[in-house]
Symmetry: C2
Subunit: 159 residues, 2 copies
């Protein structure tokens, strides 16, 4: 498979907020992110996987590390109103990104990323793919060595 990679990068400026047990009804995502934006918090990655057996969704998002306290304050205030089961967060995470060119390459890109990170024992905490880019979140400690592993794994495919 011919992969054409334009960029492999590490963003270690982010923190993570996860809302566990979000009622899966229209309007909740809008309330959460409007509240976070009104508090002046800049959200980077937003990820929601499909609901679980209990019918509740799980929303994760990343914010600049210096804004984690205001992001948590907003979600904690919404918790009672919206019926969230729990909040979890991390003061620092690392986002690893690989950008490919063309629709058919992003699956190949994802598979190669997951394999490269698995081989060095790095756990993938969040995944978000789009047509031209695959983003994964790993622990802050794994950022640098994750980046090195991905640079090697894609060395032959760089544009």
């Amino acid at each position: 498979e011919h992969l054409a990679i334009s960029d492999v990068s590490l963003d270690d400026s982010q923190a993570r907020v996860t809302i566990i047990g979000v009622p899966d009804q229209p309007g909740l995502a809008s309330r959460v992110f409007r509240g976070v934006a009104e508090a002046g918090v800049f959200v980077d990655m937003i990820v929601q996987s499909y609901k679980g057996k209990n019918g509740k969704a799980r929303l994760s998002f990343t914010v600049p590390r210096r804004q984690i306290d205001s992001a948590l304050a907003v979600t904690a205030r919404l918790q009672a109103d919206c019926g969230f089961e729990a909040l979890s967060s991390s003061p620092s995470v690392a986002k690893l990104s690989v950008s490919g060119i063309g629709l058919h390459s992003h699956t190949g890109v994802a598979i190669r990323m997951f394999r490269a990170l698995a081989e060095i024992g790095v756990n993938v905490a969040m995944i978000s793919t789009s047509e031209v880019r695959v983003n994964v979140v790993v622990s802050a400690e794994d950022g640098e060595r994750g980046l090195k592993a991905l640079q090697e794994a894609f060395a032959d495919a760089r544009l």
Copy 2:
């Protein structure tokens, strides 16, 4: 806020697979997606939100509708080996996408999307954002009216 939107689109060719209760250890994502690729299934969107209170992750991905059976066969075969708690799927979903230009617009894009869908009572089932694009999955029945609502919501921002 000046939003610059290059595209609002609906892809109603996809189906969804969700693996509930994935052990959150290095290597699992690699095994799943290598298995799915070896079965010749083309994966479009991959989403993993952060693990829940039970320490297990939840992986959702979309595949062409005609390939849902082989995708489920692969994940069912892996279920016992990898210790997945459950599988869920949908034979048809609708992916709504809005592409923005420039880093600072994608949060504004996401908020406007969520609000537009909330106002017409469309439930957001999955979310995946990247720097230039926001993808949400809704039910197949909500695809067309979701697209119309987004076209109106972003009419003033189209490039």
